[in-house]
Subunit: 223 residues, 2 copies
């Protein structure tokens, strides 16, 4: 059947186009040109532009979760290991490795300026994902820690991961290209972010740091 093929080609082209240009700027004409189908095909298969957009966002999320899934943990998996793997997965999804960059860019658009498509994202992806992180952090904090403190730490994790993707283009203007290529890989970034959090929570000794940074203090003596 050419039916599914056409529908899927539109979905793919729409995802790329919406990710690049945003909902309003992306034109149905451009999407159809890229997909190699007639203009009327969008209305035929999806009704209108908005419903096509919503389907494209859902499509992107599903792809993203498949391509960078969370590992499965047992009850004996240490929280530190879970945190490191969580950060690595989140960064992989953010930086779209592996995968096409348009998927995450489309999702980030929804995060920055939520539309109708966002509700599904929060329900199906963000909320459960956030809860997993909160549970991991809880394991590493005193049972009496107030919920909002756990939330603060969770957002510190997500915030650091989010930044590298969202501010991609600014980064290339602030930091040397070669340094970015060598030192800002998914692996190195996730190691750094995990270290920041684990040290902050007191779950990492100075000696085990990849780059020990705390060997002197500004107002007192050196070690």
């Amino acid at each position: 059947m050419t039916t599914d093929s056409t529908r899927e080609r539109i979905l793919q082209a729409a995802g790329e186009q919406f990710a690049t240009d945003g909902f309003a700027q992306a034109t149905i004409r451009a999407i159809c040109r890229k997909a190699g189908v007639n203009i009327a095909a969008v209305n035929y298969y999806f009704g209108d532009k908005e419903r096509l957009y919503i389907e494209a966002v859902k499509h992107a999320r599903r792809l993203r979760e498949k391509q960078a899934p969370l590992p499965t943990w047992t009850s004996s998996t240490p929280a530190e290991k879970k945190l490191r793997e969580f950060v690595l997965t989140l960064l992989r999804r953010m930086l779209c490795e592996p995968g096409d960059p348009w998927q995450t860019r489309l999702i980030i658009r929804e995060i920055m300026e939520p539309t109708k498509a966002c509700e599904e994202l929060v329900q199906e992806a963000f909320r459960p994902f956030f809860q997993i992180l909160v549970d991991i952090l809880r394991e590493m904090m005193p049972a009496t820690t107030p919920l909002y403190t756990v939330h603060h730490w969770a957002l510190s994790v997500i915030g650091q991961c989010f930044y590298y993707r969202a501010n991609e283009k600014i980064l290339t203007m602030l930091i040397d290209q070669e340094e970015l290529r060598q030192q800002f890989t998914v692996e190195k970034l996730s190691e750094h972010i995990s270290d920041v959090i684990l040290r902050g929570l007191g779950h990492l000794s100075s000696s085990s740091l990849s780059h020990p940074v705390a060997t002197l203090r500004s107002n007192d003596e050196t070690a």
Copy 2:
């Protein structure tokens, strides 16, 4: 003179409109309606839409820096104090307190999708601001620390601050409204973020934490 008044009214209205709708979505007609001037005034004063946009971005940056300036430090100001004040200032600018929310929203748009207006932002604001942060962090790290490690930490600071603004709307969907209002104030967030960084750098003892979280370890002994 009504000249400046008209020009400034356009600039203000354009800032708000561009911040809300983005460059392409904001219409000259809406801007002029909001400013109470004729449609042709934009072309008369700014030439075209794009130059109006660039001026509006510059305008927003200048306002933001005036309303949330960095404090002046002496050579004897401790690095920890400088970091805390830096984070507080950055968060103030991000969350637009004090000030109208449109200013930062417009700038964040430029960060996410740089246009011609971005070059000026980086040169005049981001690069110097980033350098100040790097210098503060350097004071707290061994002299032999590689530059990219300092950059990692600097981006950890900025990333955490950035997140609360960028993901404003998602936060309200993930976290209870009352908790947000009470626990996610500029002061509390900046304290948390500073604590995360200072602890990570080994410049903060557990006892001085606002919410001591590291009273247990999962796999080894406590300090």
